[in-house]
Subunit: 546 residues, 2 copies
Amino acid sequence: MNIGIAQINATIGDFSRNAKRILQAYRACIDAGANLVLTPEMSLVGYPPKDLVMKTSFVDKCKQALDYLADETGEVPLLVGYVDYYDYQNSGKPLRNGVAFLQNGKVRHRVWKTLLPTYASFDEHRYFEPSNVCEPFEWNGIKLGMTICEDIWFDDFLERPTYKRNPVEELRAKGVDVILNMSASPFQKGKPQDRANRLEVVACGAGVPVVFCNAVGANDSLVFDGHSMALDAEGNEICSMPGFESCFKVFSLFSKGTHPPKVRGNDREHIYQALVSGLHDYVKKSGFETVCLSLTGGVDSALTASIAVHALGEKNVMGLILPSAITPQQNIDDAYALAENLGIKVEMIPISESCQVAESSLDSVFEGLAKDHTEENIQSRIRGMFLMAYSNKFNSLLLTSGNKSEFSIGNCSAYGDMFGGLAVISDVPKTWVYKLAKFVNEKKVAIPSRSITKEPSSGLVAGQTDADRLPPYEVLDKILELYIEFQVAASDIVEDHQFDEATVRWVQRRVDLNEWKRRQSPLGLQVTSRAFGMGRRVPIVQKFVD
Amino acid sequence: MNIGIAQINATIGDFSRNAKRILQAYRACIDAGANLVLTPEMSLVGYPPKDLVMKTSFVDKCKQALDYLADETGEVPLLVGYVDYYDYQNSGKPLRNGVAFLQNGKVRHRVWKTLLPTYASFDEHRYFEPSNVCEPFEWNGIKLGMTICEDIWFDDFLERPTYKRNPVEELRAKGVDVILNMSASPFQKGKPQDRANRLEVVACGAGVPVVFCNAVGANDSLVFDGHSMALDAEGNEICSMPGFESCFKVFSLFSKGTHPPKVRGNDREHIYQALVSGLHDYVKKSGFETVCLSLTGGVDSALTASIAVHALGEKNVMGLILPSAITPQQNIDDAYALAENLGIKVEMIPISESCQVAESSLDSVFEGLAKDHTEENIQSRIRGMFLMAYSNKFNSLLLTSGNKSEFSIGNCSAYGDMFGGLAVISDVPKTWVYKLAKFVNEKKVAIPSRSITKEPSSGLVAGQTDADRLPPYEVLDKILELYIEFQVAASDIVEDHQFDEATVRWVQRRVDLNEWKRRQSPLGLQVTSRAFGMGRRVPIVQKFVD
């Protein structure tokens, strides 16, 4: 009994392309001896399709594509994730998140997702009616326990028992020979190994092997990391697949493993690969060929450029250097050095004349008023205007290099350094930007060492560094992690975690006041447990102080 | 038996301010003879608090404020909407959306919301566990059927029966003397009268009077329109309150009405009032005193300026005129005429020199390439840069004047005319902009007639009008309404609604391709059934064509 796992990268709403990829993997698995082939959750649809599923023809077209896939199946069953209607005669949500069991030209069986995540970036209760029964499906003398993503994740990733149902336990009680799980489980720091540990608990609890097939590739903010695997009934690893890579693997279901599941790689490698994968898919799936970005000589743009080169190749990345009158020569030198190390082209567009003219155009309106953050923002926005002009003229997607620490406290200019199509590292805290920059340089030095060692600065005020304005990044990032990722009250951050009260209150106020700005930022790629965007929904106008 | 309805305007998370307003209204109702006082859903919290409820101290602080309110109550009960914990011993969502019955210094009773809207802009299943029982509460010999918002709206506003429960029917079966409903039901076109009709059905179905207390004021995109009312057991109106106004009213519960409920005002008036209310509350609740905006001589900025003057007074609105080399003198004249009619100050900031310098700075990078939309965007972005400079320097909130038709098809520049803190009319289709402009002029001419009659134009290409680039707005807006508000497949728009296929496909492609741009737009105010933002969640990168 050989199982094929097809770790597919699906594009949302592209049924014909997704169907083709599923079929290719299905046939390759059969050639490698598979008796049954799994694909990820919503492998035919791309996860998450969001409100597209509510469009009047979406489900019909999805089901047409499913019928086409069924037609192409022979003796070896193919499990495909898709969206179906819920019975119109019953009250409830209109749709279901399902997996179809395709064999010999037919849809032989369907299962529906029971546990519907409606937290973090997930909105499944918005669309789907949960399954009300978890039944084994017998095929070839084997009782299959088919589950979809959350159906097996219900414990470890939530702060309290959210669900009243336990699909694994229901299946176990009815007798199954294997738990199959089709997932589209997105990456966040630490999650690949957490998932493996959870799978071990499932296998041991149910006393049967567990097969986990995860999606790979990125759709908007979410990066699916793959890392599909299978465990035997004792929770030992019998199949393990790479992260961040479209691939397939066939293994013998009733083989025995020798050790608990262990995901290869560490957090730094995983985060870096997630960013490369997220950038690649955003650019390619939206039809762009090239990207451009501002090179400032700082570590943020250097890291972003490295990620872009890894994702797209050096020929498809353009560096732009936009010095103002106060830009130190060493920053320009560092930007050129980076470009040379990475092998990317650069263009220089000086902005000082534009800044001067803009400021003098405002002379009469601003008469008698001192310079302040207004003039800093003008500089940043003129830089952004030139970057977008380049992007428009050459149809090259503009990348934004702001990090999570900056976005959190609004230490960035709306419509300035926040211009762009994708904010590549907007969920990476500054302290992690340094870790990733060093990681990049481990194999081959790409980022000039001065970009890593010099004091970080916005570059908008001559001689000023971030240290003049902000708490040290080590402190700031710890406060931000507590406040944003773990939603800890500011008063508790002070009392329980021993941070200086004035600093915590300053951070809190900056985070809360800058929600309007983040709301207008480009899409980012999630790598922590709570990224800005759909995973963190807070009002812009609100007065809560905790 | 007199009921007091307190139509409160709550600010999200401002427990002390909300508690004060509740108490003021409570005491005023008692002075006017009330025996029982209702406030809206989440009157103590402000709706919707979103992820703030998950912060570790939010619910504790909310309950402290509730205890304070309870302390202040005497013999006359006060019904207050708030957020509470769900029993930690049970599995389920961590919180509940509740109403507390406060009397004689105590919380005497609590009810929980049964039907939790999780569609459109609503996310209640993300946070709340539904009530599993709908019980009448007896007080003073009267059996009260207390419900919260959606508990009575379950039929008319949804396309199919979404819920398995029917709280009104459960209460009726157990015997109630009155249905009380505490709501935070946001405005959209046509909804005030729809709600009144639904209340009539509820009253007739349950055979008892219905009291509906709605929130008023705006929180972010949602404008709560008030229009609280009460109907007798035959569905006739016995109390009717104004829209868009904080107020209270006391009426005799067992009086008899003479006619079905009829909401005053028409769609034009309601939409205009909603925009005034939304702008007012966004500005005031976020602590700004003044707003500024670009006056182009066109109808969009004229309407936006009129709304701002109605909301904040003419002294608090600043008009900025930013002509380029190709701006016709008549547009400048129209902008000045509008400012004079409205009584607002204006400043002029010419942008042509900045545009010239920007273009020449790009000469070498763009060598040999023709002018295209890049140069149009430069113009728009330089204008935006100046507007934000004014906003920054004078701490004056910048308003954006883009309409829904433009935002839909991306006929606006990201980081250009989309700069700003609030996109006042971004949910108003262009054809409705004209209707509202005429409505503004009905009482007193504020908008120069030429701004209404001239051909609309982006003003970015000399001599070009929208008609040169776009389908007629009457056609465009009908297609957009079908495609966006009703999610009709493009093929069905062609077949069932007889629109030209090429036009529909062009519109569809423009809408789909510009999701990235809208995602970066300022917050807008919802007035239709589906506004961009939280009410319409679609992937940026997706390939579905229907």
